[in-house]
């Protein structure tokens, strides 16, 4: 296998398969993965409903290239490096909003929505792991 250094900045998601293919290598015993995620944050009573990433794209690309060269110099055994950073809007899975004159009602209504959704709406979630396994999840009763 030739060493590879795919890097990308994009407004689209990489498919999981693309990421896995990019670093799978028969000569490599170890693959380390780091995944940054959006977190649910509350700050001064405000909820984060989305994130926006902006880049100086050409320069970011050249800095990524420098970074990869630096990594290879420090750890010459490193075979593959795959780097991907999302740009643009990044949003949570499930934004729900319910409005009412009084907060109490809308909060209770939201709670019922969540409970009922988990119990009744025919949607299924599969987790995909870095080991290339995956498993379908089940909501608790």
């Amino acid at each position: 296998d030739a060493a590879s250094t795919p890097t990308s900045l994009s407004r689209d998601w990489l498919s999981v398969q693309e990421v896995v293919d990019a670093v799978s290598s028969s000569s490599c015993g170890a693959i380390s993965v780091f995944i940054g995620t959006t977190r649910e944050d509350e700050l001064d009573g405000r909820k984060v409903i989305g994130l926006e990433y902006e880049a100086y794209e050409l320069m970011a690309q050249s800095e990524f290239t420098k970074l990869c060269a630096d990594i290879r110099e420090r750890w010459p055994t490193v075979t593959h490096i795959c780097v991907h950073h999302r740009l643009g809007w990044v949003r949570p899975v499930l934004p729900w909003q319910i409005s009412s004159p009084h907060r109490h009602d809308s909060q209770q209504a939201i709670q019922r929505c969540i409970d009922q959704l988990k119990a009744n709406i025919p949607i299924w979630k599969k987790e995909v792991y870095d080991t290339q396994d995956s498993s379908w999840k089940e909501n608790a009763e």
Binding site: I114, L117, K118, N120, I121, P122, I123, K125, W136, N139
Partner: protein, 84 residues
């Protein structure tokens, strides 16, 4: 009657199909519908006691309830949900 059976999530992996046309007698208990699908796809047995069906997009537990089916009716296999 020939109904259209839809599979989702884990049941797609177990049967290898997303949908298929299946001949079923009618009226029939939901338990017998499930048995009939088990005969076609033995591996579905891992979902035994967890699965429910949906007939014409309405949930029906696997049990004594009798359903009347017409040609082209949609019957879905519904593994445990995990939305949200």
């Amino acid at each position: 009657m020939c109904v259209c059976v839809l599979y989702f999530a884990k049941s797609v992996e177990l049967t290898g199909v997303k949908e298929e046309i299946v001949a079923v007698p009618t009226p029939i208990s939901s338990r017998d519908v499930w048995r009939l699908l088990l005969q076609r796809h033995q591996r579905l047995s891992v979902l035994q006691d967890q699965v429910v069906l949906a007939v014409r997009q309405q949930y029906v537990a696997v049990g004594d309830q009798v359903v009347t089916l017409a040609d082209g009716d949609e019957v879905a296999v519904v593994p445990p949900l995990s939305g949200g």
